[in-house]
Symmetry: C2
Subunit: 243 residues, 2 copies
C-alpha cells in the first residue's frame, strides 16, 4: 500500500432521513479492540476511491457496500483535506496504528443525500447492528473529522432548504402542512408560528391541496398536500430573472 | 514520482473578473512543442496538492505561484474526478506523454473566486504573456476537462447570484444601477428591461443611494450606490426564517 508520498482520496456520505419527528443521519459503528476492551465509535459511511474510479460511482459503490442502500441521489457538497483530519483523538490514533495508516493524508470528498424515511423499505438496509439512523441532535461525537463533515452537510442542507424545493425529498409524497412545518423546524433549529407558517405556504401554488386527509392519527386528521415540481419550475422561471 | 496506484489530487482555480463590460476568467497558456511547432492551449491555474498540505492553503499557494494573485477569497465549489478527464484530445495526450503522466488519475478540487477588476492593481499579476483575463463567452476550448470546470463554476456563480449578495464582490465599491444590470445580464446571459430592473433593485434597502454621481462618462452621469452588507444581513434574518 502506498502511503506517505501523495495524499489518498476517499468519499464520505452524509445520508439524512426525516421520520416526521427527527432529522436523522446514517452512521456506522467503527469498532476496534484495545487491551481487551471493545470501543464503539460512530462514523459516516465512507472509504477510499479506487484508481480510475469516477467520484460519483465511488460514492454510490461505497454507500452500497457499507449500508446496502442503493440508487440514492448523492450530491457532492465539499471536500475536506486538512492534514490532521484523521487524528482528532486517542481512539483515532489507535485505530490508525492498528491499521498501519498513521502516516496517511486522506482528502475526502463529501456527499450528501436526502431520504424519505417514511417510504424507505427497511429491507434495503443491511440489517446488522453496525448501521443505523441517529437523530442529528443526539450525535455528539464521531470519528476523525466526521463531526465537521456532518456540520458542513447540515449547513448546506439549511441553505438549500431556504433556496430550493428539497423539503419534498424528505417528506412523504403526500404530507400535511404540520409535517412540513416540523421538517423546517428540525432542520433550521427554530420554531415557527403555526398560523404564519400555514399562511405562507398554503398560498404557494406549487403545494397542491388534495381532497384527502391523513389517516390513523389521534388528533383530527389534517389535509394532505402534494408538491408539484412542474408548477415550482414555472414559478421560478417567471421570477426575478425575467424582470 | 508515484503514479498508477492511487489517484493524485490537484486544485484548479476559476477566477472571475468583471470589467463593467464582460465577465472574464483568468487563464494560463500551457504551451508545448511537438515536431518544432509550439502549441498554445489555455488552462485554468492549477497544480498538484502537496502531501500534508491543506486544501485551501494549496489553492492559495498555487494561484499565487502561477499568477501572482494573492489574498483572494477562494471557495471550493466541486471536485472533478472522471478517470479520463485529463485526456480529452490529442494535445492533452501529447502533453501527458511529454511529461510522463499518461497513467495518472488526477482528482481535482475546483475553487472559484470573484474579483473586482476595476480595483485590481494590475501589478499584483505576474506580468507575462502567459497569464490573462479572457471574456468567458469567448472561451471556446481549454485543456483537459477545464471547459467543464469553467461551466460548473459559471453554473455555481449563477445560482449564487440569485440567492446571495455576490454581485457586490464583482462591482466597484460605488456603482451605478446600469453597471449592476450589466453584471446580471452578462452572468445570466439575458437582457432585462431597464425600468423593471431599476424598480426592483432601487427598492432594496441594502442598496444605499449616494449623493454622488459617476464621473468621466460621455452620457449624463448616473447616481452611485453602495452595498450595505449590514442591512442585507438584517433583512435576511428577518425573512421567511422568522415566520
Amino acid at each position: 500500500m502506498q502511503t506517505g508520498l501523495i495524499p489518498n482520496v476517499s468519499v464520505d456520505c452524509v445520508v439524512f432521513g426525516f421520520d416526521l419527528t427527527n432529522l436523522n443521519v446514517l452512521l456506522i459503528d467503527r469498532d476496534f479492540t484495545k487491551e481487551g476492551i471493545v470501543y464503539h465509535d460512530l462514523k459516516l459511511p465512507g472509504d477510499l476511491i479506487r484508481m480510475y474510479e469516477d467520484l460519483d460511482d465511488a460514492a454510490g459503490r461505497i454507500l452500497h457496500e457499507e449500508t446496502g442502500l442503493s440508487n440514492l441521489k448523492l450530491k457532492q457538497f465539499r471536500s475536506f483535506g486538512s492534514p490532521n483530519r484523521l487524528k482528532r483523538n486517542e481512539h483515532d490514533l489507535e485505530w490508525l496504528r492498528q491499521n498501519d495508516r498513521t502516516e496517511e493524508h486522506i482528502i475526502t470528498i463529501a456527499y450528501y443525500s436526502l431520504l424519505n424515511m417514511a417510504e424507505l423499505n427497511s429491507t434495503k438496509l443491511i440489517i446488522n447492528d453496525n448501521v443505523k439512523f441517529c437523530p442529528v441532535n443526539e450525535v455528539i461525537d464521531l470519528v476523525m473529522d466526521h463531526m465537521e463533515i456532518l456540520k458542513g452537510a447540515l449547513e448546506h442542507l439549511r441553505l438549500e432548504l431556504l433556496s430550493q424545493p428539497i423539503a419534498f425529498d424528505l417528506l412523504p409524497e403526500k404530507f400535511t402542512l404540520s409535517q412540513m412545518q416540523k421538517l423546517y423546524e428540525v432542520i433550521l433549529g427554530k420554531t415557527f408560528d403555526k398560523r404564519n407558517f400555514r399562511k405562507k405556504f398554503a398560498s404557494m401554488k406549487y403545494l397542491i391541496p388534495l381532497n384527502e386527509k391523513e389517516v390513523g392519527v389521534a388528533h383530527s386528521p389534517a389535509r394532505l398536500y402534494l408538491f408539484s415540481r412542474e408548477v415550482y419550475v414555472k414559478i421560478m422561471d417567471g421570477n426575478m430573472v425575467n424582470t
